[in-house]
């Protein structure tokens, strides 16, 4: 290395020349990861689009069994958690550690609320037999192949739910790390990356909500 490295911070890995290069690399890597996530969910959106175009009446009939109140509640919960996440990043940028922890805890709590509401929704559907494929035993929906609607519903909200769960684990880990004082306005890459991930999870829900609960 030819450049002087008197200001070589602990978190800087040897193959980067400065902290900015490391941060920008992490961010580009994260965006590429988000791109793969969009395409992963994309496959399911294609599935939804094609079956909806084949059986539009069935989709409209089937969507009425979903609980709009619960769906709306969850949408607002998730959007609020996105706001608190964004504010957590802002706080760490300003060096306010305690505030950061508080915002992260709120985000975690809101994510937990989302999962609890989701649990009640799922439990209700299991009870009524509004289930995918072979397991579909419900009889109250007019139209062709109503079980396909529930296949789409459970796959898409299920994969989304898994992402929420992973996000909760990451946020928990961030809370611990922040309390240990690992982050500072100079180095908060992990919070920023988790934030990006969390906003993407919110973003996907923003589309799932109207597609299933509102217009079927």
């Amino acid at each position: 290395m030819s450049q002087s490295h008197s200001d070589h911070p602990e978190f800087l890995q040897h193959h980067f020349s400065d902290a900015e290069q490391q941060r920008e690399s992490a961010k580009l890597g994260m965006w590429l990861f988000l791109l793969t996530e969009i395409l992963l969910f994309g496959g399911l959106f294609v599935f939804y689009a094609i079956y909806r175009s084949w059986y539009p009446e069935m989709f409209i009939n089937a969507h009425t069994v979903l609980d709009v109140t619960m769906g709306t509640t969850n949408t607002i919960v998730l959007i609020t958690s996105s706001i608190t996440m964004a504010l957590a990043i802002r706080s760490i940028q300003l060096g306010r550690l305690k505030q950061t922890v508080w915002y992260l805890v709120s985000t975690f709590g809101l994510a937990g609320t989302f999962m609890v509401v989701k649990y009640f929704e799922y439990a209700h559907k299991f009870h009524l037999g509004q289930l995918p494929g072979h397991f579909y035993t419900f009889t109250g929906i007019e139209g062709t192949n109503p079980h396909v609607f529930f296949s789409a519903y459970f796959l898409m909200t299920g994969l989304h739910g898994i992402h929420v769960f992973v996000g909760m684990c990451l946020i928990l880990w961030l809370i611990v790390k922040t309390k240990q004082g690992k982050f500072s306005p100079q180095y908060y890459t992990h919070i920023e990356m988790t934030g990006l991930y969390w906003h993407l999870v919110d973003l996907i829900w923003i589309f799932l909500f109207p597609l299933f609960y509102l217009v079927g």
């Binding site: 902290a19 900015e20 290069q21 920008e24 961010k27 580009l28 965006w31 590429l32 988000l34 791109l35 969009i38 395409l39 994309g42 496959g43 959106f45 294609v46 689009a49 094609i50 175009s53 084949w54 709009v68 709306t72 949408t75 607002i76 959007i79 609020t80 996105s82 706001i83 996440m85 964004a86 504010l87 802002r90 940028q93 300003l94 306005p185 100079q186 908060y188 934030g195 990006l196 906003h199 993407l200 919110d202 973003l203 923003i206 589309f207 909500f209 109207p210 597609l211 509102l214 217009v215």
Partner: protein, 146 residues
Amino acid sequence: MTENTHTNEPHVLPLSIYLGIGSILIFLTAGTVYAAGIDFGAYNLLIAMAIATIKASLVAMYFMHLKYDNKLYLLLFLSAIVFLAIFIVITMFDTLRRGDIYEIKSGAIRDAVIYDSLPADTTTHAIADSLSISTDTTDVVIDTTH
């Protein structure tokens, strides 16, 4: 390198932006639920998707900082959407257009004839007769209509 021209200072947005955008998002959520209660016929889906797209753009531009960050990230984000659109649109050229040109009649698939050797006279008709299938090839018997 041209991409590393940012300073080391983090770009901090004012609190009002986050709270403002958050309020708009919640307002739009209420709006889309309200709009779903009114029947616009074929436009229902379009309206719901338009509102969702606005919400998603706000999240991406402000919460995910795409408005302020390196435009490369915006390009990546949009390219994901573009490739997804390619996937959906081209697949639908198939799924919505099957049977446009040839009328495909659905029905049971005929019993296959299992044979060990070809008959001595191997003209097309002879083979066709031995397999008891019609040489009228428009009579395709696979169900692909939906």
